[in-house]
Amino acid sequence: MYDFNYQRASSIEDAASKHAAADDARYLAGGMTMVPVLKQRLDQPSDVVDLGGLGDLTGISEDGGAIVIGAMTTHHDVATSDLVKSKIPALADLAGTIGDPMVRNRGTIGGSLANNDPAASYPAAVLGLGATIRTNKRSIEADDFFTGMFDTALEEGELITAVSFPVPEQAGYKHFPNPASRFPIVGAFVAKTGGGVRVGITGASPCAYRQSSFEDALSGGLDPESLKGIEVSSDGMNSDIHASAEYRAHLVNVMARRAIGG
């Protein structure tokens, strides 16, 4: 790992100003991706601005018809939260499948979303539930947030503060894990929300996306039979030693059906 100038932020404003003042800074949340990336010399920031001291970015609350999760809340805390388990059990289930217990004890929802790994789990839920990403500057709708592989709508220095998940009428998540890394080869989050049925898919493509053909097919109700026979094109899907594009395209349908009990 190349060395860098380590700075600890004392507030959200302090984090943003430290980031802006540095040549080429990165925010550090839980570090479960960031530290391995630095160790492999895949990135060489001049400064690392640690958000670990920002207690107001941690916590889970209910706000109207939504569950609001602070950006620095760990996967473990989401997976075991009584509030999340009672209001959006599929989201708690999803958080409990990320990595392993040690990763879940440290990794954060904000860090995961800012990184936007093609195989990260949370993007499927953010898209599937139509969540809103709150930052230190604005609110970004789920459909506008994920812009490409490891790329988001976040501007330089913009910091996720919380994620607001509307409570759905019904939702389910299923993923096909890579047996070694546990990352989803494909994960599907299906939800019936006030705004209609939404299907968020992760792992299959360079960036998480909504499977609109499934959303149309499920508009009458979340019946897995409605998805049978709907082909998913493998064009542009990820293909690697773990799974071919065609296999991933097939899994999209299988995981979506399993997410709703099929």
Binding site: F4, V35, P101, N105, R106, A180, S181
Partner: protein, 155 residues
């Protein structure tokens, strides 16, 4: 160089570190606590597992400075004099190790598993051990040891 202070095994410690110094380097090279092992160094094998503020974490993926003020417990802090922690005793009793390299991380993870799961069954133990890799035992005796220790730790 920046300085870092934390509590390690109930003792206050501090040292000068670089921004890039990992917790496991701080433990092993600065404090001489070499019980915490570096296996894969890519946050996959779990040999470096310690407890930070009561939660199991991989010390090869944490910056030392990140943990300024934290309460860290390592394998060296478990035994009470010559009396082993129930989890250590169970690993010994059930022959839950062969080469022993993964064992410190296994024991620290196992204690976390027991603390998090009041009603522990074999399936849960096997699932929760997904972050720890052992290349000798085939896990069977590790799973038995954790189950036995869970009973001892209740009492």
């Amino acid at each position: 160089m920046p300085s870092v202070s934390m509590t390690v095994n109930d003792k206050q410690v501090s040292g000068e570190v670089e921004g890039r110094t990992l917790l496991v380097q701080f433990l092993r090279e600065h404090l001489g606590l070499t019980g915490t092992h570096v296996g894969c160094d890519t946050s996959q094998c779990g040999a470096c597992t310690v407890h930070v503020n009561g939660r199991a974490m991989k010390s090869c993926s944490l910056l030392a400075l990140h943990l300024d003020g934290a309460d860290v417990q390592t394998i060296e802090g478990l035994a009470d004099g010559d009396t082993l922690h129930p989890m250590q005793e169970a690993f010994r009793e059930h022959h839950a190790l062969q080469c022993g390299f993964c064992t410190p991380g296994m024991v620290m993870s196992a204690i976390g598993i027991v603390n998090d799961n009041p009603d522990l069954d074999e399936k849960t133990i096997r699932h929760q051990l997904e972050g720890n890799i052992c290349r000798c035992t085939g896990y069977h005796n590790i799973v038995e040891a954790i189950g036995a220790a869970a009973e001892d730790m209740k009492g």
